[in-house]
Amino acid sequence: MSALGASLPRPRRRSATGGAGGLTIGVTTLWLSLIVLLPMAALVDRSLQDGLGTFWHAASSRQAVSALRFTVLISLAVTAVNAVMGTVIAWVLARDSFRGKRLVNGLIDLPFALPTIVAGLVLLALYGNAIAYTKWAVLLALLFVTLPFVVRAVQPVLIELDTEMEQAAYSLGASKATTFRRIVLPNLVPAIVSGAALAFARAVGEFGSVTLISGNKPFDTQVSSVYAYKQLESDNVTGAAAVSVVLLVVSLLVLMGLRLFESRVGRRG
């Protein structure tokens, strides 16, 4: 690459092209280390402070495991609903036309703009009598805060997608369902997976919207982030750190898996 660049009659690149000198890179690395990496290191350090045995004991207590199981299962459910409904909404926004579509399109991002504690309160105000402090309430809160991920991942792909292949399929007699399944869906899968993975990561860590509406009932509606918060409130810092590290590992695995998936799809495409 650099050899090729040098052989071409164009201005030689400065040390590291354009505006990114050593200073920029140094400041950036320092900034990220201070803000993100240092606290993460402190967290892991604290969780292991009293040895691996204590860590394991805290992370595998019955209540912690129950909270984690509920968190992962409900997040999977939320991810599945999002994958379907997010795709449907993206489809309607990209292909359908009706009055007020632009308004609806703008409102999709509302969950990103609305504070999570307000989201929880809003759902409680409307559905509170029916579902407050049940698993359904947690599901609803998580669906609210994760709504934009799949929609915003799939929508641009649908807009870019050429309709010629679909037209060809129709003209060859394929039904709408067949065309969607065989032509459209394969093109959307990478975007659906990315959006769904982000929604899953967000759901696993969500706190603000579930803290009011879940009622935080151990072995029932208690999610891991709220459990960690309660541990911290009762001065069990090491316990909170252990659960936090488990949550951190889950997030990291999802992110890494997503990157791996995206680089594979990118290489194939």
């Binding site: 703009a113 999570t116 307000v118 409307l126 982030s225 810092v237």
Partner: protein, 271 residues
């Protein structure tokens, strides 16, 4: 946009399904909270959002945002430039680190900060002997907000930088422009809408942050209580109408932000 022929029922069905889902999840609930807020009368609402605690919470939220967002904007642009233009090893690791705040639970973020700057944290003793208090005071809230809003500007600016390429910057350099001039006259104008969008997203998140701030702020009324914490406190104290009023204020800010996002996006598409 070619429309598929026939299957009108299917199209209408999908439209109804999508709109019903959005209505049940988003639109009706937010509408109901506005209704419940104003049902006791406007005077009551104004009274409830102008108590000393509420006014303090409002300004605290604004101050924290006013510090955290510009800081992240400046360093976010720098990070994006380093990522896209620099030839540094471990770019993927850096990208993963930048995405972390999106993926980590806010509670985990708060706890991690506690374990660095808190009384029992890594720097606890040093800070205490220097007489500096970070946690349970203003700097801690700013720190938590900086953490949670870190990715937005980088994530919005980096793709734009990648797309515009560096040919113009190089041309400027061959014509004798300094690095700073090239940045100010070439790079900055080309990334400005991405930057603005990232800033808007950061502002929304900064104002709305709850979990991380909840852990590090100490929630002292009139001192370290932000607007979102006020909502929670009022709710827990059975002051429902007060919680609704503060929520509606936050929702209004969110709607303003949303309007701004739509506007910026439209400008960006035109640009």
């Amino acid at each position: 946009m070619a429309e598929a022929r026939g299957g009108g029922f299917g199209r209408i069905g999908l439209r109804v399904a999508a709109l019903a889902y959005l209505a049940a999840l988003l639109i009706v609930p937010v509408g109901v909270i506005a209704y419940k807020t104003f049902a006791p009368g406007l005077g009551h609402v104004i009274e409830s959002v102008t108590t000393p605690a509420a006014i303090h919470a409002f300004w605290l939220t604004i101050e924290v945002t006013a510090i955290a967002v510009p800081l992240n904007a400046a360093l976010g642009v720098l990070t994006a430039v380093a990522l896209v233009r620099g030839r540094l090893p471990g770019k993927r690791v850096i990208e993963a680190v930048i995405d972390l705040p999106f993926a980590i639970s806010p509670v985990v973020i708060g706890l991690a900060l506690l374990l660095v700057y808190g009384r029992e944290g890594w720097f606890g003793d040093t800070l205490a002997s220097a007489g500096v208090q970070i946690l349970f005071s203003f700097p801690g809230i700013v720190l938590a907000t900086v953490f949670v809003t870190l990715p937005f500007v980088v994530r919005e600016v980096a793709p734009v930088l990648r797309e515009v390429g560096d040919e113009q910057e190089q041309a400027a350099a061959t014509l004798g422009a300094s690095r700073l001039q090239a940045f100010r006259l070439i790079t900055l104008p080309s990334i400005r809408w991405g930057l603005v969008y990232g800033v808007v997203l950061s502002v929304a998140r900064a104002i709305g942050e709850f979990g991380a701030v909840s852990v590090v702020s100490g929630k002292v009324a009139g001192e370290t209580e932000t607007l979102t914490l006020l909502v929670e406190k009022r709710f827990n104290n059975f002051d429902l109408s007060g919680a609704y009023a503060a929520s509606t204020l936050l929702a209004l800010i969110a709607l303003l932000t949303l309007g701004f996002m739509v506007l910026v996006n439209r400008r960006r598409e035109l640009a």
